[in-house]
Amino acid sequence: MDLLLDAVVIGVLLGCFYGAVSLGLSVSFGLLDVPHVAHPAFLVLASYFVYFLNEHYAIDPLVAGLLITPLFFAFGLVAYRIYYETFEKRGSDAGVRGIAFFFGVAFIIEVLIIMQFGVDQRSVTADYVGKALRLGDLRIPYRLLVAFGVAAVLTILLTLYLSRTFMGRAIRAVAQDQEALRLMGTNPIRIKQWAFGIATAVLGVAGALLIIVAPVEPTLDRAYIGRTFCVVVMAGLGSMSGTLVAAIILGVAESIVLTMFGASWAPAISFAMLLGVLAVRPQGLFGRRS
């Protein structure tokens, strides 16, 4: 019973972390319908940038994550521009070729990381990595608490941004009806490009969390394809608070399976849940579409 409680607590924390790494995808895939399978590859890339800054300049991983945010914003702008010019503008079967395109991008990123950093696992050093908080019998690693806190802040900020600011509302409007925006005299493409930039910029901090929570390796993105897409699809495309709830469900499920059946079953959890959601309730738990 204690074991189960332990698993649930760790699962909730882990889930918030999954939420943080999925937020960007929730915008790019959920709101903008871009089949961004390279999202986890960008995430791992951000982790390596953080690792580099931490290793060579002893910058705290979270600060490093913030520092690379503008760079990733720029990446996002460029990536969407290319995607738009080559697929959305031409129209037909953009999704199918788009997914192939992003898989190519993901592979390129993977190999560039391997060529630069090698295939070994990398981790960061900070005060809160490797220590744990004790609450009675409960032992909670600080790195998970940090990830939990930052993830919560990130989710709240992004939710506020999308609901309170002018640009945020424009992003949600473009997701609902692109043509209507065009009729209002705005350029929906520039708004979508901006949104994609935001979605990628969030990955800077998310990448820092990724390497704080556990060591990273170049092909880690493949496991996160399942986790991030599971969270976003389960949340219902484009719902930010739904993303957090779905991520916590995934985190708890993974943590319980890990405790009960062992680590070798863990990779299948997210994909199995994803498949289940797609088959039974494709609009997700908090879907925007009927």
Binding site: P35, I82, T86, R90, D93, G95, V96, R97, G98, I99, A100, F101, F103, G104, V105, A106, F107, I108, E110, V111, L112, I114, M115, R222, I225, G226, F229, V233, S264, W265, P267, A268, F271, A272, L274, L275, L278, A279, P282
Partner: protein
């Protein structure tokens, strides 16, 4: 059309004869090792494009089918010491069943969601195999090759020839489908599934048929791989690289014609073999990614599309 058919079968016979002759003449073993991989990718790309190309359902589960093919061989060898033909046929049967299940998925999912679901399927099956102790689990398993039959000097040469036969089989099936009502029906449902259904195209039956054929072939191609490597582990048998390579080869060649995947697979497969030997296997994945991106962006119809465009331009030039 009739003359085309005769030419095709003569070509296929010549190809098999050349493969057989090669096993008699060439004494260096390396060409067979490399050639086997290239042939394997040709067969995979052709089999993939039956569903991915004609029907437009982009299947990222090539690795799932390939891996199941590998592991059905592993199981048969370990449990019964089954010979190679039995392994291939059993793998094809299992692949057909998997294809049927995949076909049922298309009922509820289209486009990107179908693709994501196929990735999910791959990882789930991989995890199940990883936890299956009997076939070696995560650590993998060694397999002993049986003595080779009298016709060939050694086992790799035989596998090379077997894979060549599989290529001919896959191409023949793919070519038949393209030229028959099945291909036209698949083309129609690729363009607009609802319109096709309304015009009396039996979309569900066609999709199931395409999934079953494609799945059976993909699994059958994977089956001899266990004997080729004499080793199998889940991580490499279910590697996502198979999915993306196959997809890249088909898209680079062009999926509008049955010869597209062959061209793409020869081009990319040969390049990869050369790069693996001369530089490193990382660069080879890099080239895969770069070529995929370049072709998807620059030549969406693949090499076949490029060739057609050149010919059309030339013809137009002549008329004016």
């Amino acid at each position: 059309m009739k003359r085309n058919g005769i030419a095709f079968w003569i070509g296929a016979a010549l190809f098999l004869a050349a493969a057989l002759l090669m096993t008699k003449v060439v004494s260096n073993q390396y060409p067979f090792f490399a050639g086997y991989v290239i042939l394997q990718f040709i067969a995979l790309a052709v089999a993939w494009s039956i569903l991915g190309g004609y029907a437009g359902y982009v299947n990222f589960g090539t690795s799932a089918f390939f891996g199941v093919g590998v592991y059905s061989s592993v199981f048969l060898v370990k449990a019964f010491g089954a010979p190679l033909p039995v392994q291939i046929l059993t793998a094809a049967a299992i692949g057909a069943l998997m294809g049927f299940a995949l076909g049922l998925l298309t009922l509820r999912m289209q486009g990107i969601f179908f693709s994501i679901a196929t990735i999910a399927l791959t990882i789930i099956i991989e995890t199940a195999v990883t936890n299956w102790r009997y076939v070696g689990g995560a650590a993998g398993i060694q397999i002993q090759r049986p003595p080779v039959s009298a016709l060939f000097d050694n086992y790799v040469q035989m596998l090379f020839f077997v894979q060549a036969v599989l290529v001919v089989l896959a191409v023949a099936i793919s070519r038949y489908i393209q030229n028959s009502w099945i291909g036209r029906g698949l083309q129609a449902l690729k363009d607009d599934e609802l319109a096709a259904e309304c015009s009396g195209v039996p979309t569900l039956r066609l999709k199931l048929l395409a999934c079953v054929i494609s799945g059976a072939l993909l699994c059958a191609v994977g089956a001899p791989s266990a004997m080729y490597l004499q080793f199998a582990n889940p991580e490499s048998a279910f590697n996502l690289n198979y999915s993306v390579s196959t997809l890249a080869m088909s898209l680079i060649g062009g999926t509008a014609h049955w010869s597209g995947p062959i061209i793409g697979a020869i081009l990319l497969g040969t390049t990869q073999q050369l790069l693996t030997v001369t530089i490193s296997s990382e660069v080879n994945v890099l080239v895969l990614g770069v070529m995929l991106v370049l072709f998807v962006v620059g030549a969406p119809e693949g090499i076949i599309g490029l060739i057609r465009r050149i010919f059309r331009n030339r013809n137009e030039g002549r008329e004016s």
